[in-house]
Symmetry: D2
Subunit: 303 residues, 4 copies
């Protein structure tokens, strides 16, 4: 059985975040107790120094850096340094240890009440997962947000008792997925995409509202006809990306894991354009489509 801590270390490793800059306290112990051998911890005795070291390391290596802070007091100590990281566009992934979930609202010692507001407006993304089951995904989103241009610091508050929780099927998917971003498809990205489409025996198109807002509707029809692929509209789409009378049109996907897996499980390639993958509504947990997708937020909520 894997824990949130194991899955988080695996996620960090996949993103090359194996150097941790920090100044921990008691809230951070359950995370650090399991630190694998291939990680190293650079200790600083004041968080201003810790954040400064991490900023320089990220700038020098041109990669994101991981910062491990202690609750509100440690986070507060680092906030002067964050003014520099913000304007230098330095991708810092900051984690702050939180108290035991059930006790935060009591304002026990070292609880970080309203942790999400604390680092604002000096971070691009600030979150405290609402459940232990959402920690790994939140960390994935935070890393993504930090490096997305313009890069910058992000903040995740993680409760003490979350690290020992067992992971679910979502977390396995998170460890396997690859995310690339681009202002425009590069030649290499385009070639990869074409190759994947060429290799697919039973591709399917899922189109979302941004196809319509970008006036890509005619292109969508041409693509569907060229591929000979069926077309679904993404769950809960706010605009119509495809003519519903077209022979390739199959309908609107239901807004649940089980519902989508039931309808799309026969295909060997799913190309989603102009929509999140996927925006669910009903909570009907089930088997995810193998190796293909995981729940994501489709754009970055500020600060």
């Amino acid at each position: 059985m894997s824990t949130v801590r194991d899955a988080t270390y695996e996620l960090l490793r996949r993103h090359g975040l194996t150097t941790i800059f920090g100044n921990p306290g008691s809230n951070e112990l359950p995370f650090l107790a399991g630190m694998p051998e291939d990680f190293r911890y650079i200790l600083g005795l004041h968080e201003g120094v810790v954040a400064g070291m991490a900023d320089g390391y990220a700038q020098a290596t041109r990669r994101p850096a991981l910062v491990n802070l202690h609750a509100a007091s440690g986070s507060g100590n680092a906030m002067g340094a964050l003014t520099n990281s913000w304007y230098a566009h330095t991708p810092l992934v900051i984690t702050a240890g939180q108290q035991v979930r059930s006790t935060i609202g009591q304002e026990v010692m070292l609880s970080n009440v309203d942790a999400v507001s604390l680092p604002r407006p000096l971070v691009k993304f600030s979150a405290e997962p609402a459940s232990a089951r959402d920690v790994v995904r939140t960390m994935g989103q935070a890393i993504h947000a930090a490096v997305l241009e313009p890069a910058g610091p992000v903040y995740v508050s993680i409760p003490y008792d979350d690290w020992a929780h067992e992971t679910g099927p979502e977390d396995a998917h998170l460890g396997e997925r690859t995310v690339e971003t681009a202002g425009e498809l590069s030649d290499g990205q385009l070639a990869d995409l074409v190759a994947a489409l060429d290799a697919a025996a039973r591709p399917v198109l899922v189109l979302g509202p941004d196809v319509d807002s970008a006036r890509g509707n005619d292109d969508a029809v041409r693509l569907a006809e060229r591929l000979g692929a069926p077309v679904w509209v993404a769950p809960s789409a706010s605009r119509c990306p495809f003519p519903t009378s077209h022979a390739a049109f199959r309908g609107v996907l239901p807004a649940s894991v089980a519902g989508i897996t039931g309808l799309l499980s026969g295909h060997d390639l799913i190309l989603v354009v102009g929509a999140p993958v996927f925006r669910y509504h009903q909570y009907e947990p089930g088997e995810y489509l193998p190796g293909r997708h995981c729940p994501v937020a489709d754009h970055l909520r500020p600060g």
Copy 2:
């Protein structure tokens, strides 16, 4: 076995909040499915009307009113009306149904992302419990905050899957406690306090930092000597309220449930002055002292 839903209805009943004004959606169903017979639900088809009705009801009855809204969209619809409630000092206790905990961060349909920020700056208190185990206590704090002068609206976002959780020992205590607030002790409050002290065979004093900041140290010594009671300093006190060389001084209380119960369980009355009851640190769950206290935040965190 009692659930969070049962305990919340019991808490509402104790505070006379048995009339609910609302416009619910799917997120609110697990709460409403178990609505007891002695509650009534006043339905409005737009949240501006719902909040307006509740405001008028609260003003007319001179009591707090309960408002039941749907996620971010329903809460947003009510926010114009909240400008009136804020300046009229109307004690509205607003609950907003949230999506399933593990899916909020994915921004599934009807999730209320960063729910705590949404109603600001038009509420006195805004919270989303970090755990199902903290829902009942959060509701208790919200009701208290709403009616504390100057009164005003408060907001609590409650995840879908919390209502069915089983309650813990904290929740039982919450259902039994009585909270009164006063700018100064009234004659009646004073008489009750004196009577309780007179009746106590083995009273104990717990003194906190506010005794020192209010220069009440000498009064504290006089009180301890008059009562012949031992004196403990509250956990993690930032100031010293009592001379540590005094014969009645017993030490500083440990900052855990189990630790405090171990030390204070022999007494039949605990008088805490100038401190929260209690501010814990270490998470060492245990038996609470019977019928006497529960974890609380000692002052209101704004908005």
Copy 3:
């Protein structure tokens, strides 16, 4: 001619805030350039130390302490220490130097963009005056908020070019007024109030909505009859505190400075109960009533 700087120093002097703890930068120069001889500046070379010294000084003297920080970077450096001040209920009045007003939005170097959010949730009150003309009043409100129980830190961001502005008539009033707060009137406060009413030849009552919400309507009638005083309802009241058919009733006050001065200028004592003094609406500047009132917010907006 007096400047905002002069009036601010006068306000600080009246509240005994003549010891300043700080670590200034360029934004703070126009304030410090005019520091009077009776003020002293305790310099610390890191804001964590500055805030810590101020906290200890305030706790030891049992009075508020003034902290002078530099923009977002200096404020950020102090935020770790604020976690202690928050829970110790230490009244710290923190000022942060801001850039020139017209350039803040450009995010010039050392601008403190969204300064009001920066110190949250670790302060009771956070503000940046929307105009140089509101700096002195904002500082007065901040001092009041810091010491109002439960006491705590407050934050005011002040633009560089505000200090040299000339003051208006509001600021003179601010320098003269006295504010007292109490959970319940003390014997001394009650005696002062009775003496003032006895000495008044032409008193007038202004009643606000809180008279009604506290069910004080009958008391209000008795008071008006005992005094033989005319009764006005406060501007824009949300509840009716006095029977409008009573012989003493004069109407609802208009919501402007000039309007109120016109109606109340003949009286030698104005007693306002259950309302702000005064909540205006229309901007009709004019002569304020001499020595009696100034515009105030009637309750504290959180954080």
Copy 4:
């Protein structure tokens, strides 16, 4: 003499925002009193309807739409509808009328206290200019933020007395500039850039820190040598984009309007890469370089 109102209408006209959806109150009168003939105002009697119409109009026209709301109450009424606009990525430019600057802090009727927090987290950008002199630039930034992908709603609170202020030289520049954004330079943008460089007799390069973070340093040297252009480093750069021993290197630009105009005024084309244009520090107002630049924030501050 031009006013902030005139310059704002001119800015709106340049961006095609001549249809206004709104439900105004008294705070909005000074803006609407001067509405030019080529603008039209679509009135709705509830802000939920107003925001809904504007959202549909923006989606149908695939252009941003202007929404004119009234203070906190009107803005609050629209916030339910904003949940849809946020997830539909609809570019809504929302203006909210604010009270007279000097009276906002008093919480006069219809003041929108802490206006910047009110619409969060449902907008991409939220601001209240700190000065009448910054209104037009703020509106320009808001429009840019609304349409920048992923598009979405933005919010600007504008005080009553700002509209009649005279504009300064910055505002004239704002009316003339053109901003384009792209994930990657399109063929047309590239051709325009090459043509401008070919046509320039005395071009100059200004390089910023993002040249270094993108590892573009060698490309920068090649470009400077190809053009035979002198190279300056942008003011207050956090990273070094160009070898300081290179013959083309001229130094680091000073961080003031007057300083930059003094050094760059001989050139007929200024190409700035990897930096804001320009990030000032010292407030030394002066002549801007003709037709070439204006102060900007280099990336979007969230929410």
